[in-house]
Amino acid sequence: MTTPKNYSYAKTHEWVQFLDEETAISGITDFAQKALSDIVFINMPSEGDEVTCGEPYADIESVKAVADICSPVSGTILEINEKVEEEPSVINEDPYGSWIIKIGHISAKDDLMTAEEYDRFCEEEEQ
């Protein structure tokens, strides 16, 4: 699966796509969904919750493990993707098309990677 060029990536394997200066959507990467295997549940945050760079805002459960999902930016959750909440397996099928939260009033960003940098980062992780 190709890593979308117009997204940015966190070391904790989340992607973020900026819609404008202050708004973005975020989800987990193909690497993350593969490592988790079949996803069965996401414990979603609520709209209006504050998120902080690098801090978990949800937990995701697969048949193998439970993991935190961290936010690549600081801001406020404007919307959660109800489709992903109802049927979390869509993340396995289309990780880059399945955003989990929409964040607004973004005040800070994590040290994010480009698609190229992220691909290299994943290669190193694999070894």
């Binding site: 079949d38 459960e61 493990a65």
Partner: protein, 479 residues
């Protein structure tokens, strides 16, 4: 196999009852059921066969090797059962007056004293029903301690990334915030990472020592000092006490609170054979916060003390699982002061022997000496053959042995966590090693056989994804 409802034959029963000579009484309309209850109808013989079939489909430590990592599935000696079924213990009622159960209270007081001696604690409660309940109770002691000092901002509990899932879960239940710290490359607690998160919000650190990686935290004394200096308390998760019991006392290394799993370390039945028991011990400065009732001695006799201003209150009815405690006490007295460390040493010896016998094939996640358990990684096996840790685990079932813990700890990919315990003989371990080696060879020669395993177990490979996504949680009756 058939469910008990599917075995049911209308009109059969276990017992012939005499005709009812009591007048029927009809409940008011609104309390009456609209539908009949579904009771299975079986003869006693059929019912007995049903349970025997269930038993034959289950796997226990009495059936075969059960090296489930971090669960300490040691053999449960029969003498424990014998002592627990003595009428003086088995036929009492928790509401009997204290003067009629002095022997039972004495047994409890003795068990408390011995477990305090083993853990280096000053007081101990037997109330918690099992391990996670013990964690919850222990964390309430931490909360109460900070509250009693008016220190209400201490809401953060630190856990290493190798911790048991119950640690963060108990922290959440206790309204704490969990802060996870990464381990160093050698699998041990990273002191710098710990220092970076310690502060005025730190309530304490929860630690399992040895850790889930089977490694002893060598820096434990310094870790304890660092946490104490920051105003936090140290919580010992007793899941892995087995390899150090009678050798290292958590209290001597700086821990303030300990929970034990009698159903792991002290040989009482575990899993479906329970119930468990998760006593919590603490240092003297925390004793006043322990749950009630507590056993006290007054004018030469023992009684339950039910009032203490600072106690966190009750965490369970009465005094916990009394007969489980009797079994653990029997175990401790049977092994004695020499036997307990000897059992621990043999647990370590068995684990190291088995690890060494497999290290040329499976990757040992943290090479070097292990304690009671070791973690293998099937990551390279999976890359080369497509055979995963899960496939290996399922294949082991076809050989009449229980798989190890898989996919845990989370920081090891394709993890297989093996804990043979001290109660297995060399020949059992050798036979198991032979099976692990055969499975490894099969992964290269015929991996598809391993993807299909188990074929000889009571059930084949369940569809875990479907079970998690669309669980069927109750039986549907056709009529």
């Amino acid at each position: 196999m058939k469910l008990v409802f599917e075995r049911s034959i209308k009109g059969t029963a276990c017992t012939l009852l005499p005709p009812n000579d009591v007048d029927a009484y009809a409940l008011p309309e609104q309390y009456q059921r609209k539908l009949d209850l579904h009771f299975p109808e079986l003869t006693e013989g059929e019912l007995s066969r049903h349970y025997s079939e269930l038993e034959s489909n289950a796997f226990g430590v009495n059936r075969g090797f059960y090296p489930l990592g971090s669960c300490t599935m040691k053999y449960n000696p029969k003498i424990n059962e014998e002592c627990a079924s003595l009428p003086g213990f088995a036929e009492i009622h928790p509401l009997q007056p204290a003067y009629t159960v002095q022997g039972c209270l004495e047994a409890m007081a003795l068990a408390e004293k011995l477990l305090c001696e083993i853990t280096g604690m000053d007081s101990l409660t037997f109330q918690p029903a099992a391990g996670a309940h013990g964690e919850f109770t222990g964390l309430q002691l931490i909360k109460k301690y900070h509250d009693s000092r008016g220190d209400s901002k201490r809401v953060e509990l630190i856990v290493p990334d190798t911790s048991h899932g119950t640690n963060p879960a108990s922290a959440s239940m206790g309204a704490f915030k969990t802060v996870a710290i990464p381990s160093k490359a050698d699998g041990l607690v990273d002191l710098d990472a710990l220092k970076a998160v310690l502060g005025e919000n730190t309530a304490g650190l929860m630690l399992t020592n040895p850790s889930t990686l089977g490694l002893f935290e060598k820096d434990i004394v310094e870790i304890a000092k660092t946490v104490h200096d920051a105003g936090g308390l140290l919580y010992y998760d007793g899941a892995n006490l087995n390899p150090v019991m009678g050798i290292v006392r958590p209290g001597d290394t700086g821990f303030d609170i300990v929970h034990l799993n009698l159903h792991k370390t002290f040989s009482t039945p575990h899993g479906g054979g329970g119930p468990g028991s998760g006593p919590v011990g603490c240092k003297a400065f925390l004793s006043e916060f322990l749950p009630l009732p507590r056993i006290i001695e007054e004018q030469g006799s023992l009684r339950f003390c039910c009032d203490s201003e600072n106690s966190i209150g009750r965490v369970k009815a009465f005094y916990g699982h009394f007969l489980v405690m009797i079994k653990a006490l029997t175990y401790i007295l049977t092994l004695g002061k020499e036997g307990i460390p000897y059992a621990a040493q043999n647990a370590v010896l068995n684990a190291n022997y088995m690890m060494k016998s497999l290290e040329d094939l499976y990757t040992v996640a943290y090479p070097g000496r292990c304690m009671h358990e070791f973690v293998l990684s099937a990551e390279s096996l999976k890359k080369r053959t497509g055979v995963s840790a899960m496939d290996v685990a399922k294949a082991l079932m076809d050989h009449g042995m229980h798989p190890p813990t898989v996919y845990f700890p989370l920081n090891v990919h394709e993890a297989l966590m093996v804990e043979p315990t001290e109660t297995e003989s060399k020949s059992t371990i050798d036979a198991a090693v032979q099976v692990y080696r055969e499975i490894y060879d099969l992964a290269f020669s015929n991996p598809s056989l391993l993807h299909e395993a188990p074929v000889k177990a009571a059930i084949g490979r369940p569809d875990e994804v479907r079970a998690a996504r669309n669980p069927i949680l109750r039986h549907s009756f056709s009529s």
